[in-house]
Amino acid sequence: MGVTQSLVTVEPVHPGFDAAVLDDLGRRLSAVRLAPGSGTAWEQGVPRPWLTDLLADWQQFDTGAFQARLGQFAHFRAVVGGQPIHLVHQQGRGPAPLPLLLTHGWPGSFCEYLDLLPLLIDPGTHGGDPGDAFTVVAPSLPGFGFSGPPAAEGLTADAVAGLWHRLMTEGLGYPRYTAHGSDLGAGITARLARAHPDAMAGIHLATPGLVAPPRPWSPAEEAHFAQVDAWTGEEGGYAHLHSTKPATLGAALHDSPAGLAAWIGEKITAWSSTTADGQPAFPRDLLLGTLTLYWVTGTITSSLLPYWAYRHAPGTALPAGEPAPVPAAITIFGGEKVPFPKPPRELAERYFTVTTWAEYDCGGHFPAIAEPQLLAETLRDAFRPLRS
């Protein structure tokens, strides 16, 4: 991404799902050819009975109701340096709403934040203090959902951070803002803090994945990276493929709703925390809405490209030992069905100026969905001291 001084444009839009594409999806779902399957356990990936059930639900999914739910929010289309970006942008209700940028990851979407938004925008109506109100900006990553395809090689976290900063400052007129992210969004949020310390009042990261620093490591770091190796071996095949052959994989996922449902559904199920009755905290309806979003916008292949970009763009890892001065609140959420290795605090302190550190056995990989109240309170608490 070169420096460009083209204007950032922002215009209101009303995104929806093309009816012809939905009809075609219905036809494909009724004509799915399933592999025979090998049992009911998850040890080899998604079990056939689970997938059959999900696909049946998808055929019955009320896409109109989902679009109506999305329509309750204010959507915009920005163009930054030639890259189209979809975003939800809602003004906070309070004496001094603080701008807050929320960045999702893979296989997520801006829809992860729909339950969280009212708590952030209007705390006064939700048991909180109007003084804690946020003006929220929730974009779709380039190449995801309504943001449409990015450049063919995909964008690194640094490149997306650059787009986000221009969006917030030039596009929306916020010279000072806060940011939260998880998954890919955590990496982008971290790079925003490094690149724009004057504009960033503070950041919050949910369970960031951190690259190994040069040795020596502490005993807790040794244990952590041993867990990372084990997790990568058993659970990291998807990322290996995303980062090396995204187009090959995309050929299948773009053409088969069953393939898309298996691919995304496996990870959302594994990475969700669970409710009291053992169900994923990521509800079935939102999973179906997410699948429909990826399918209708034809963005599964482009959504894989950040992994490819990261692997092929040397020098994009965060440097250890040079934490950005921007205050960083970090929350480690847990309780996933298949647990992620959780970084120890001392590892995070190599990369961030950590002002708050909390660990929970709940929330999982999608805390905005699993624990919106907890996340809202965390964000209010983290950023309250920074309001001025």
Binding site: A35, P36, Q44, G45, G233, H240, A258
Partner: protein, 216 residues
């Protein structure tokens, strides 16, 4: 082979076929006279610190399977069912999956079509498609997660042909170290990983030559 009524037989294989053939060679069932391999699971258990150029090339080409060419192995070695559902429902996906292997592992000048005919590749893709075996074929990676290129030493007669663009391509020294009764060593002048598809005449000639002494 016993059930088919053969009391004297040989075995040949490449890729997973060579894993099976190597296992037969280690088992040495009655009647197996010897084997031919165009993929050799003959890396040393410990890679030495000093490597000849040929040994270094072997290490570098093997590293592709943990790197740029290793995604499908990694995926199918852990989640073959998930991958299988995508491939079983999309002819485009199944075709891309297999074509990509031909692209990366044949002796070509940039396109798989340099080495294999389109119809030949479509025959292979069609076989996987019409038998709905994308998932089941991927399970071989899951079932053999511990399989390694540092395979067992074999004492039965072994004939080997190395194809120049195979991945990995092993040096003669490691092959001689692993097969103490190496009855034939050949180096083809062309061909890659899919020797039988790419260079059937060379491979057949090598199998005839390599196993001839077992006939008497």
């Amino acid at each position: 082979m016993k059930r088919l009524g053969y009391t004297r037989w040989a075995a040949q294989g490449g890729d997973w076929g060579a894993v099976v053939t190597t296992a037969l060679g280690a088992m040495q069932p009655e009647g197996l006279l010897g084997i031919h391999l165009n993929t050799q699971y003959a890396f040393p258990a410990q890679i030495p610190d000093t490597l000849s150029p040929e040994q270094r090339y072997a290490v570098e080409t093997l590293a592709l399977y943990t790197g740029d060419l290793g995604g499908s192995n990694h995926l199918q070695g852990t989640k073959p069912e998930t991958a299988g559902f995508a491939l079983a429902d999309s002819p485009a996906g199944q075709a891309a999956w297999i074509y990509e292997k031909f692209q990366s592992k044949t002796d070509n000048h940039g396109l798989a079509e340099d080495a294999l005919s389109i119809d030949g590749m479509l025959d292979v893709i069609s076989l996987y498609w019409f038998t709905n075996s994308a998932a089941s074929s991927g399970r071989i990676y899951w079932e053999n997660k511990s399989a390694t290129f540092a395979g067992p030493k074999l004492t039965l007669p072994v004939a080997v042909t190395v194809f120049p663009r195979d991945i990995p391509r092993l040096p003669r020294s490691w092959i001689e170290d692993t097969y103490s009764n190496l009855i034939h060593y050949g180096e083809a002048d062309k061909g890659g990983h899919f020797a039988a598809l790419e260079q059937p005449e060379i491979l057949v000639s090598e199998i005839r030559t390599g196993l001839r002494t077992l006939r008497s």
